[in-house]
Amino acid sequence: MSKRRIGGGMGFFTTITEGIAVAFDSLRSNKVRSGLTILGVTIGVFVVMVMAAMITGINKSFSEVMASNGITTFYMAHFDFTSMNISGPGDEGEDDFMKNEPLDPRWTRDIMRLPEIESASAFADLSGNGYEASVGGDRLEISLYAVGADYLEIDAGDIISGRWFTASEGDRRSAVAIVDSAAAYDLFHGRDPIGRDVRIGRRGSGESFKIIGVYRKPDNLFAGMQSHWVWVPFSTADKVLPVWDRMISFIIRPEPDVPLDRAMDAVSARMRRIRGLAPGEANDFAFMTQDQMMDLWGKLTGVLFIVMVGLSSVGLLVGGVGVIGIMMISVTERTREIGLRKSMGARRRDIMWQFLVEASTLTLVGGSTGLIVGGLLVWGVNAWTPLPATVPAWAIIAALGASILTGIGFGLYPASRAAGLEPVDALRHE
């Protein structure tokens, strides 16, 4: 009897279940206090959830666009649009935009003659330039795209009815237009738009185009952002509409099996000759590859990610400070209970764990609430807006993990205070 087995001790599972039971007890008895404490954690997790869902959803669309365009297809402009997209006006990209000579659509023929290049076509995104389509008295603001005949292959959407324009129609500068179904409906109110005329121009002016097809863009993020699309042949638009030449870019597709680097080198050499650049002079044009677009997007989401981590950290910090407060109160209120538990054989670590489990249960409840509210919002965004949003599994795990860690981290001090109490002093506490 003198040497009984040392050890045994409290089972880990029992520690957890006891702690959780005590935590829910304390949640129930102090609803407002506990609710306010965990609100910060709720907000933190909510922010992580929603932002992670948005980024993931947009990323998914982005990769779909990339895949549909073909991996080696690249773009060329008279300025570096990666630097312009990332930085504001006044930066180098912005200066080049005005300073450098714009691209001439005729140069696509020179580029196409290169053995490395399969196709090259000029296009201009004229959405946001105030173009309207009108039929009779109805006027409709549109997103106008001046594109080549091969745009269809690159964009990889569906012809719903009618057809796309042919290369020869492009060469002949035919006044034909393709619309999306939203534009078709709003212009013709359910009547078949094929073969009908529409005037395209700015402020009531404009030229007459014949509608030859209804096109549906592939289902991705960019399709969702705008509607009332109208596509016209680039050559036609260049002739009859004012196309600001600085809006012109080239889309270039290398021959199959030609590496991207080699194709870009060839185009670069040809462009330098066309532009008459002396050796050593910097390029006054720039390429953007799919990889660069991905990188650009990566940078953007990187910034978003930092903002997200920052916001949720603040939430978790606020929640954490609340946890210290509520746990200190809990320790003080239950000093006698701690003394009793110690007199019944609880070790320091048993008391420590009890309070840590209690703290992390609190924050976990807060986190779960944020998860549910965030999940509902994401569901709503998906259901009622064209923005894609997907909750990735890592975000759920990270959010719940962060809540638990907040509880443990900020519960550590109160818990060690409780664990360090002398049993005799704790029992005497009034």
Binding site: T14, E337, M344, G345, R347, V424
Partner: protein
């Protein structure tokens, strides 16, 4: 209780001291206590307030550590043990009964009794069985699911006794167990103690009431942090009738131990 220790002593203290420093002054709460308590004994510890009986009680229960001296519990020197080993001793060797019951207010009687078993690492099923059995011993088998506020004072103290017994401790340590109870209920608790003692339980009880102490086999009296008597005789006329109303009829004997000391004649240490 099997006896593989060399003597029959379950508690031996030698020159046990406890000092408290209060400002510039050092208070000797225990000034060298030598006590030996045998297995199966039923001992009451008495003394005026400030005599050190509570401090001594805390030492025996390993709730507090001595400043000096030795304490051998069940053949094991306790003064050198670390925190975890002390926790194990409180868990396995000692069953506490407190004056204020110290039950968890929101837990059922059954859960309260399970508490020491939780810290002993007993499985949930086994805990339920043992706790229910212990509540049966104190005749509360039908109150297992009641919370403390649904129980009378006597019932609460019996839950506390069941909790103290559930881990089969070497010693039942009771600190003023009837201090918050009326005299009828006190008698009821004393009866429980007596039954436990008859079944071989070692009981040590701190009290300042003669008629409660009289239930014990032996009374150890502490005065000024020292043992003034190892086996005080209780004046017989106080015990008959065994009731606190005696005070009025026998004013010559100081009943309140806090008033004068030494309170009882006995052999000097």
């Amino acid at each position: 209780m099997n006896a593989d220790s060399p003597t029959d002593a379950i508690i031996v203290t030698h020159n046990l001291t406890k000092d408290y420093v209060m400002g510039a002054e050092t208070v000797h709460a225990l000034a060298g206590v030598d006590v030996e308590i045998k297995r199966n004994e039923y001992v009451a510890i008495m003394g005026p307030s400030g005599s050190g009986k509570s401090t001594f009680m805390n030492m025996i229960g390993c709730l507090d550590s001595p400043s000096g001296g030795e304490y051998v519990l069940n053949g094991q020197p306790v003064q050198d043990l670390d925190d975890d080993e002390l926790a194990r001793i409180r868990n396995r060797e000692i069953g506490f009964v407190f004056q204020t019951f110290n039950l968890l207010p929101r837990a059922t009687a059954l859960h309260n009794v399970e508490l020491p078993l939780i810290y002993a690492g007993v499985s949930s099923k086994e805990r339920h069985r043992k706790a229910a059995e212990a509540l049966g011993i104190v005749q509360l088998g039908d109150r297992m699911d009641h919370k403390p506020n649904e129980l009378s004072g006597g019932q609460r103290q019996r839950v506390a006794i069941a909790r103290a017994l559930v881990n089969d401790p070497s010693i039942l340590l009771a600190d003023e167990p009837t201090g918050n109870l009326d005299s009828n209920t006190s008698d009821e608790i004393m009866e429980v103690f007596e039954n436990l003692h008859k079944q071989g339980q070692t009981i040590i009880m701190v009290t300042h009431e003669f008629d409660i102490a009289a239930h014990a086999q032996r009374i150890i009296t502490l005065v000024d942090g020292k043992v003034s008597s190892h086996d005080a005789e209780i004046p017989h006329h106080i015990l008959v009738p065994a009731s606190r109303t005696v005070e009025a009829t026998t004013p010559a004997v100081p009943l309140d131990p806090t008033i004068s000391s030494p309170i009882l004649p006995g052999e000097a240490v």
